[in-house]
């Protein structure tokens, strides 16, 4: 069920990624201030935007789960957050590389954008131990949904607070005053954002399909695992 359309989505994602990379390296002009280092921007910023939107999407799915009680929404919420955490790792690493090249430091603690993203990332890193500390599956899904909603609401609040802060070094490239991105850079950025967004959707679908298949196998094993005459299980114990 979850695998429907995965093949065409994967092909579209591959084309979008290749096109975006071609635009980044062979179409977008060099930045007058940062030069070639600015090429990291086309990877780092779309990853950050996708990860943050993914966290919010996880919260929206969690609301649907609490409203309906359907555990499929919980699975959507879990996988959305899981994928956004992975994207968050990429954001932190690529951001650190950019910071080192641009500012000469791997990390700057007095920069609100960096620290706020780290806080959001660490908050979501606690999602896993929080979720799996609860044994009862219904309770686990409910508490995880509450966490996802509260944390998902924190993400836009945090974003707005940072935008209002007086940043010293982090560039504001989408500002409407004092310039902003020229057309060719904006086109490249939007292509990269589309490609990374498609990648996120594809991986979420991929993960859901794998989890669904794994769940079906476990259900089949349980169904076949009725005790045989003589009290022995008819299926070998689960591996892994």
């Amino acid at each position: 069920m979850y695998g429907k359309g995965l093949k065409s989505l994967s092909i579209a994602t591959t084309f979008a990624l290749v096109a975006a990379l071609a635009l980044v390296f062979f179409y977008a002009p060099l930045d007058g201030d940062q030069g070639f280092i600015q090429k990291i921007f086309y990877l780092h910023v779309p990853l950050a935007i996708t990860a943050l939107i993914g966290f919010v999407v996880g919260g929206v799915f969690a609301i649907a789960h609490l409203r309906s009680g359907d555990s499929r929404w919980d699975a959507y919420s879990y996988v959305s957050i899981h994928m956004s955490v992975i994207f968050g790792v990429a954001v932190l690493i690529t951001g650190s590389i950019w910071a080192k090249a641009s500012w000469g430091h791997w990390w700057v603690w007095d920069e609100p954008t960096l620290v706020s993203f780290l806080i959001v990332f660490l908050m979501y890193a606690t999602y896993y131990p929080f979720r799996y500390a609860i044994e009862d599956r219904d309770q686990q899904a409910r508490y995880a949904s509450v966490f996802a909603i509260v944390a998902g609401a924190f993400v836009p609040l945090n974003f707005m607070a940072v935008r209002m802060a007086q940043s010293l070094v982090h560039p504001r490239v989408f500002a409407t005053t004092n310039g902003g991105l020229p057309g060719s850079m904006m086109l490249t950025f939007l292509a990269s954002l589309l490609a990374i967004g498609l990648l996120w959707v594809t991986l979420v679908k991929f993960e859901l399909t794998a989890k669904s298949a794994s769940g079906q196998v476990k259900r089949l094993r349980r169904a076949l695992d009725a005790p045989a005459p003589g009290g022995r299980s008819r299926v070998a114990p689960e591996v892994g």
Binding site: M1, I86, A210, K218
Partner: protein
């Protein structure tokens, strides 16, 4: 392809080149690691399915060979009731199946 590459402008891979390359390599590496983990999961699912398929092909104990196929349709279609199979800890505690049918395992 070589003609296309020859026509493209040269990239200024000076001091900044290694940082840009590093960022994109990290991204690529993360995707490769993720795909490798998913491949390992897929292999495990395939192995379990093969094991369950071979069990199903052997038929039920006490009904050797293909005799299991001769069971009445209503008997074959009967789901295994919760009380007649090995219960998971949460099922034992709640007295009901711990998964909703069709939902993925999280």
């Amino acid at each position: 392809m070589l003609v296309l590459l020859g026509a493209t402008p040269a990239l200024p891979l000076d001091e900044a080149g290694k940082y840009v390359a590093g960022a994109y390599v990290v991204f690529l590496a993360l995707i490769v690691v993720y795909v490798a983990i998913m491949a390992a999961k897929l292999q495990r699912i395939e192995r379990e399915l093969r094991e369950l398929a071979s069990f199903a092909e052997q038929g039920l104990p006490g009904m050797p060979g293909r005799e299991a196929e001769d069971m009445p349709a209503d008997v074959k279609a009967q789901p295994v009731p919760v009380s007649d199979r090995n219960l998971t800890p949460s099922e034992a505690a709640t007295g009901r199946p711990d998964r909703v049918q069709g939902s993925p395992d999280v």
